[in-house]
Amino acid sequence: MTDDKLREELSRQGILATTFAELYNWGRKNSIWPLQFGLACCAIEMISASMARFDISRFGAEVFRPSPRQADLMIVAGTVTKKMAPQVVRLYDQMPEPKYVIAMGACAISGGPFKQGYNVLKGIDRYIPVDVHIPGCPPRPEALLDALMFLQDKIERQPLTGPGRPRHLDVSAPSEFPVPAFGAHDLVPTKNPALWQEPPLTRQD
């Protein structure tokens, strides 16, 4: 049933053929419930995206949950300070599988304009696996919707077995990511080496 032309022909004749994986992914991608929390100004754009003008509910993601136990998607909307980073990682750990992360805005993906600040985390992808990065300061609500649709495409294309399968079907994938602690000068550890490594510096001279 993976023959696309055959399925196209069948659907033209009024016969819907599908696979279990497609049905499963269809269900997953159309009910992505975000966790309701915002960290900085990007959250205002996120709120705007959930309201009538941009209407994130068109994509089945309007059900912002106040508890991580009921959420599928973490939208890291805003600057992650080092004070807040452990809480964000702990909330991510407490979300049930399958779960996804959208890092929204320049701050969440890299520290943004506050990158040089002593108390600003230079990207949440140092501690949790990010599915979609949205640049922008702040990104428009359309950008968030684009990221959501990108995530939906990503989910739709995921095979359920073999390499590239979702984390929750991979027994060897870790269930929790270590929560950083406050050290004397910085968060300890400063990154999760399994997720993020410093890009190699190349000097051109």
Partner: protein
């Protein structure tokens, strides 16, 4: 078999039990078979606000709450009873009036006691 007039209660209870337990049991079975096994101490933590629980929930509570209980009775419950009492005052029998006055007397006694104890003073 003829049902007696009360046996519908038994049937009703049985139906209510089955109606409530079946979805829970199905959900449990579904979770046993299909839910991803990704568990851990952080995920199973009681707190879900991102912070860690600082201590156990088994601690002593201050007993001073009884004052709030008494003052709540005086100012809130009494007011609720006073309004219908005032509305129905003309039509009440002497016995009902006496019963209501006893009720008010008891609460006024509590008010006097609380006042004397200094509970109403703003600290």
């Amino acid at each position: 078999m003829r049902l007696s007039s009360y046996s519908f209660l038994v049937v009703f209870g049985l139906v209510a039990t089955v109606f409530s337990v079946t979805p829970l049991a199905l959900a449990w079975l579904w979770a046993r078979a299909f839910s991803p096994r990704k568990s851990g101490p952080i995920k199973n933590a009681v707190y879900e606000c991102g912070l860690e629980g600082k201590a156990t929930g088994w601690l002593q509570f201050r007993p001073e709450y009884y004052l709030y209980g008494i003052v709540f009775l005086i100012f809130d419950v009494e007011a609720i009873f006073l309004l219908p009492f005032a509305v129905a005052f003309k039509g009440l029998s002497a016995a009902a009036c006496a019963a209501m006055l006893i009720f008010i007397f008891l609460l006024v006694e509590g008010l006097v006691w609380a006042w004397a104890k200094g509970v109403l003073a703003w600290k």
